[in-house]
């Protein structure tokens, strides 16, 4: 295996030969004020302009030393393309959905030119720019919301979960099913645009729903999605998901991006032979409030536990010190 960042990441995600050191990367956003300053690119431009998006992603590799570039910082690109009103935020604020077009669980209208809507096109163009600039050398990661997360945006999270709680199975399933083609089409378009691997972010998190909800509603859908996409998938579900790790391993994904709340050793022991594990560095305490030494120690714990791709557990707070991100890269460069 040629030892470059891309191959280290792909080998780690697909259960291949280990290189001389673990891979380090970010399935979700590492945009922070320090990185924006280094790149000379700021929010909200980095959500809306393909060149800006790509430049900020490149800074994650060039300035911090990660083996990946991941250009999608928000979770609302799809919702915007589906007609939700999005506030794109500012330098200090992530974008969010302002209204819920299908709060009444009416049929979701998927535009025929969905992939050409500006909020989707910008991601595809950014991936292609990255492909031209670092393709084959640095792992290019795409990101797509799954039907569960998109339902939060289209119907409103509380509204959607209330329908789940009320046992309105037909209503819930219909909405999820209508969104499955969106997820599949956007994932495949991201591979075609240049992504090496795509993150499937679907927030069936323990903070909100139980493993039985995941098993009933989402596992069959994830199996369908993974069967129909043309490349490796990292599943991202944040929160303490210790109670559903095995279900994730059945979904057909290649890797699971997980939080520190799930002990790294336990995760590796339970599902590490079936899927690769990514992430595990704590955001709110360690990356945001800790020192580089704290981060280094936690990264070393994850490495020793056998986590395959070391990185932040989720999109980082915008005020995260850049030195703390560098400490993750430093920890992997100390080898296994």
């Amino acid at each position: 295996m040629k030892l470059n960042p891309r191959n280290l990441v792909m080998s780690a995600l697909l259960g291949g030969r280990p290189g001389p050191r673990p891979a380090v990367g970010n399935p979700t956003s590492i945009a922070c004020h320090g990185l924006m300053e280094k790149a000379g690119v700021f929010f909200p431009e980095a959500h809306l302009n393909a060149q800006a998006m790509a430049e900020l992603a490149l800074a994650g590799h060039a300035e911090i030393g990660f083996d990946t570039v991941m250009p999608e910082y928000s979770v609302v690109q799809e919702a915007a393309a589906l007609g939700a009103q999005v506030d794109w935020g500012d330098r200090d604020q992530m974008p969010d959905v302002k209204n819920f077009p299908n709060a009444d669980f009416s049929d979701i209208v998927i535009p025929a030119d969905f992939l050409e809507k500006p909020s989707c096109r910008v991601v595809l163009d950014a991936l292609s720019i990255l492909r031209r600039q670092v393709g084959g050398r640095v792992a290019i990661i795409g990101k797509v919301m799954g039907p569960w997360t998109m339902s939060y945006h289209m119907a409103g999270t509380q509204n959607f979960l209330l329908a789940v709680g009320m046992g309105e199975r037909d209503k819930v399933t219909k909405m999820l099913r209508q969104l499955v083609p969106v997820t599949i089409a956007f994932i495949n378009a991201q591979f075609a645009a240049g992504a090496d691997v795509v993150v499937l972010a679907d927030h069936a998190t323990r903070n909100l729903v139980g493993p039985y909800h995941y098993k009933e509603y989402l596992l069959p859908i994830h199996q369908e999605i993974t069967a129909q996409v043309g490349g490796p998938i990292i599943l991202h579900v944040c929160g303490n998901c210790s109670d559903r790790l095995e279900l994730f391993a059945e979904s057909g994904v290649d890797a699971y991006h997980f939080e520190w709340q799930v002990d790294a050793k336990e995760a590796v022991r339970r599902i590490g032979s079936r899927v690769s594990l990514a992430g595990n560095i704590n955001n709110p305490q360690t990356l945001l409030q800790g020192t580089p030494e704290d981060v280094y120690r936690q990264a070393r714990y994850a490495i020793e536990a056998g986590v395959h791709l070391i990185g932040p557990e989720c999109a980082i707070p915008l005020s995260t010190p850049i030195e703390n991100l560098k400490a993750i890269a430093e920890a992997v460069r100390s080898g296994f």
Binding site: L161, L208, G210, A315
Partner: protein
């Protein structure tokens, strides 16, 4: 009476939102004291629901349905309470901080506090420190409950506490914080008075604050 209370408790715990109004009505007609229905049935049931949520036996969908059920029950029983608002344990202002549009946690806490006898003024989402300080000045609540779901917005809580200090209001209101990324250490670090890991803990804290008041 015990049967009526048990039936109401079971209906709230089981999320039987379609049946609750009739059950509460039936209990009232049988002469069960309205206050007893609230405390020993509706609130007692939400305590069980909160505990089940804390242990991971149930999750937000079930808790939401139970909270909606409890609220429906409260609507029937409240007009029958003697003394009206004088029975409130205190006033709580609830809000999700600036930049954050997530409100399920806040809504659940609000509903449960209401059930627990607090007067709750829910200001909604995306509230700046300045706006919150203005509201604290005019409403003069006993408790200010702040929620954040995002690691990107939790620093706003500190900003609110700082603004309360600047305006000389910090000693007049207890600040309670919560939300997925928030923990006890963070709450202590920013100088909050309390942290609730879930809605049940938040209600327990609010009760404690209310009991400690002169």
């Amino acid at each position: 009476m015990a049967d009526h209370l048990q039936t109401i408790r079971d209906a709230v715990i089981g999320g039987k939102h379609g049946e609750i109004k009739a059950l509460v009505q039936k209990a009232l007609e049988a002469g069960v004291d309205p206050g007893t229905i609230i405390n020993d049935a509706l609130i007692a049931a939400m305590d069980v629901v909160g505990a089940d949520f804390g242990t991971g036996r149930i999750f937000v969908p079930e808790m939401l349905v139970s909270a909606v059920t409890m609220k429906s029950g409260l609507e029937v029983v409240k007009p029958r309470l003697a003394g009206g608002e004088s029975r409130f344990r205190g006033t709580v202002v609830m809000a999700t901080v600036k930049g954050d549009l997530h409100d399920i946690g806040k809504n659940l806490v609000s509903m449960m506090l209401e059930g627990a006898g607090f007067k709750v003024m829910d200001l909604g989402v995306d509230l700046s420190a300045e706006k919150l300080v203005d509201q604290v000045k005019s409403i003069r609540p006993d408790i200010l409950g702040l929620s954040a779901l995002l690691t990107t917005t939790m620093p706003q809580m500190q900003r609110v506490i700082g603004a309360l200090k600047d305006q000389g209001l910090r000693d007049r209101v207890k600040v309670l914080v919560g939300g997925a990324p928030v923990d006890r250490n963070f709450a202590e670090k920013i100088g909050a008075d309390g942290y609730g890991a879930n809605a049940a803990e938040a209600v327990a804290l609010a009760r404690r604050f209310a009991a400690a008041q002169p």
